[in-house]
């Protein structure tokens, strides 16, 4: 089915024209895609005149030429080994948006844990998917979520049954390989009551291609369940990455997000967490390490909709070259969400005179018995620390790298996957060397 409606922007038009509506013969899914298509056609491309996009000009994205993906290249697992965490014995790989079973490993999971592609899961877990898919990440007002949803063809499905624990971290790797193509990564995680799992969502570029990745992740955390969500965005330096993650927490649920942004020319990460039950606990850690002319925008929304919720957020940006980091952290405490305990910290390190950070805490509190704090700092490397290290024989570059690494380590060291701590630590050191020399 092709769209008959004229899109509001030539690039969007190209994206919509280029795609044929997937048809699976599942009526609820077809319906959701159709609704999303309607919204994608109606919504306009955000500009810096929109408050939510004030600092992020995505004009370069709309100038990207659009080319439909060609046949996916033949990749070997050895091409991907540098991305895969050894602990994640279960992993699914998507190449340019297409599920690659030959590059995935999801056998041997215990009863009560499912990690598979939508195509397979729709047959076995159709009801769960229907209940959650495109139900948490709204696309009414969000163009990029609408685009992703109307293109919904394949994605990763992670399900952990009541009181079960997924024994190994699950890695979902989206690897992009082709110039000027678009991929729509999609993940749905459902942890039933009392369940527990660790997810590694990984967006990686194999080369230097300029492509567009438009991702949506939905996470439903059941009563008393626990989901740890590591997110690594290491797309190609010329790529565009726009992602939305929507998380819904039931009573006493726990959710921890560890989001690391390294790649893409322009990236945007929306993380929306809603406490839909009492007593849930949230940690949101973020680290953006960018340089050159990169722009990394993180928008988070912590929605305390129920009493006794607790949230802790630490967002850090390390900005070198002429790069630009944006952080907008909104915390809403709804009427009745009494005894909410929320703390947000935004800490930013500028490594050059041309680097820029815009950080904006945004608190909207409608309950009177709550504890909410926030703080933001923007600074440069401490010259006394640099001198101390130099006085012990370290070169100025080595000293700056070590201090920059230390700044990022606070976020990285809390990632619940040891090999990723090591790998990301090395990447940060390597990247700061580049930044330091720039």
């Amino acid at each position: 089915m092709m769209s008959a409606v004229v899109a509001t922007h030539p690039y969007i038009e190209a994206l919509l024209k280029g795609h044929e509506m997937p048809r699976g013969g599942i009526s609820w899914l077809d319906e959701r895609r159709a609704q999303a298509l309607e919204r994608a056609n109606a919504l306009t491309v955000p500009t810096t005149r929109d408050e939510e996009w004030r600092f992020t000009d995505i004009t370069p994205l709309t100038k990207l030429r659009f080319r439909p993906a060609r046949a996916t290249p033949q990749l070997a697992i050895s091409d991907l080994s540098r991305f895969l965490a050894p602990e994640a014995t279960v992993h699914l790989t998507f190449v340019d948006g297409v599920f690659a079973p030959e590059l995935s490993a999801n056998a041997g999971l215990p009863y009560g844990t499912v990690v598979t592609s939508f195509a397979a899961a729709l047959h076995t877990h159709g009801a769960v998917i229907e209940q959650h898919l495109a139900r948490h990440a709204g696309f009414e007002k969000e163009l990029f979520a609408a685009l992703n949803t109307c293109h919904l063809r394949d994605g990763a499905f992670v399900w952990v049954a009541r009181n079960r624990k997924c024994p190994t971290p699950v890695q979902i790797l989206f690897v992009s390989t082709q110039q000027e193509t678009v991929a729509y990564p999609r993940i749905l995680v459902v942890a039933e009551a009392g369940a527990e799992c660790t997810l590694i969502e990984d967006h990686a570029g194999l080369g230097d291609e300029a492509y567009f990745s438009d991702a949506v992740t939905e996470v439903a955390v059941g009563e008393g369940a626990c989901v740890r969500h590591v997110r690594v965005q290491r797309d190609a330096r010329a790529a565009f990455h726009i992602a939305t993650c929507a998380v819904a927490l039931a009573k006493d649920a726990r959710y921890a997000s560890h989001a690391v942004t390294l790649g893409a020319r322009i990236s945007r990460h929306n993380l929306n967490v809603t406490q839909q039950g009492e007593g849930s606990e949230v940690r949101m850690d973020g680290l953006a390490l960018i340089s050159g002319r990169q722009l990394a925008d993180t928008h988070t929304l912590m929605d305390h909709a129920c009493p006794n919720g607790r949230s802790r957020q630490l967002h850090k940006c390390i900005v070198g070259g002429a790069a630009h980091a944006v952080f907008n952290g909104k915390i809403v405490v709804r009427p009745g969400a009494q005894l909410t305990d929320s703390a947000q910290e935004s800490r930013n390190l500028l490594l050059s005179g041309k680097a820029q950070v815009d950080t904006k805490p945004q608190l909207e509190i409608f309950a009177d018995d709550v504890k909410c704090s926030h703080g933001a700092t923007v600074g440069q490397l401490d010259q006394e620390q640099v001198f101390y290290l130099r006085s012990r024989g370290l070169s100025p570059n080595r000293a700056r790298n070590l201090l920059t690494y230390a700044f990022g380590a606070e976020v990285i060291d809390r990632i619940p996957v040891p090999s990723l701590i090591e790998q990301l630590g090395e990447m940060v050191l390597a990247r700061t060397q580049v930044v330091g020399d720039a």
Partner: protein
């Protein structure tokens, strides 16, 4: 130990330096030979710490006149890290806290940098930990210090021990210890001073910058210099320190 024929490690002539546009050092002369221990004393504001930091190359201290030869080389032609690699060590009055960098990683990095500069073998993390633990025993330090961030949350005394631990690891030819005694209780002072004595040998020299005489009960200086108004106003033997202790510094202000 004074040996008139020992090698001159440090030759300071007419050193002048500014901090934030204000001239603090107004012509310092000092000669330090291998094997010697010098104490640089003086009232607050006399320029002791400025002297120490200028020698180490702190960027806030601008040298405006005079010359310093370190081991026969023009010290001011060397960047701070090059001074360190050639064996100059500054024990900081206020050691800097570096959250997020583990003490063991920092110490190993510094040690291996120095080893590489001397053309010697570097140590891997396991070898280094063993080596460092041996040195820590000397200073009565808990090995747990290795796992903590550099000076982060250390007490004043712990920070000073960590400085001397670095001295023990880096084996400098000239150690300038800036108020190492401040913040140490009497037991800690004895341990730290014992460590310094143990580390000091005929091939190297120590310059103790201190306000009080008490450390000199444990580390006996060959020379005592009294600073006032940015100059050395008097030089004597170890007895001069006792004289200062009883007379105070008022006369120095008058002399400067």
């Amino acid at each position: 130990m004074i040996r008139p024929d020992a090698k001159v490690l440090l030759e300071v002539k007419g050193l002048c330096a500014k901090v934030g546009g204000v001239e603090i050092l107004k012509g310092i002369d000092l000669t330090v030979r291998a094997g010697e221990v010098h104490a640089v004393m003086g009232p607050n504001g006399s320029g002791k710490s400025t002297f120490a930091k200028a020698l180490a190359g702190h960027p806030s201290y601008e040298v405006t006149g005079g010359s310093v030869a370190f081991d026969g080389r023009d010290l001011f032609a060397l960047a701070p890290e090059e001074r360190a690699r050639r064996g100059l060590f500054l024990g900081f009055q206020y050691p800097v806290e570096i959250p997020g960098v583990s003490n063991s990683a920092f110490l190993r990095l510094a040690y291996n940098t120095m080893q590489a500069a001397r053309g010697k073998d570097e140590l891997d993390p396991l070898e280094f930990d063993d080596f460092a633990r041996g040195k820590m025993k000397l200073l009565d330090m808990d090995p747990g210090f290795l796992d903590r961030s550099v000076n982060d949350g250390f007490s004043g005394g712990e920070k000073k021990r960590n400085e001397i631990l670095q001295m023990a690891l880096l084996e400098p030819r000239l150690a300038i210890l800036d108020e190492t005694d401040s913040g140490l209780d009497i037991d800690a002072l004895r341990v730290v001073a014992g460590g310094i004595n143990h580390l000091h040998g005929p091939g190297d020299a120590v310059v103790l910058v201190t306000h009080y005489q008490r450390m000199l009960n444990y580390i006996v200086p060959d020379y005592v210099h009294v600073m006032g108004g940015g100059r050395i106003v008097r030089t004597g033997g170890k007895d001069l320190a006792f004289e200062l202790e009883s007379r105070g510094y008022d006369w120095v202000r008058a002399a400067a």
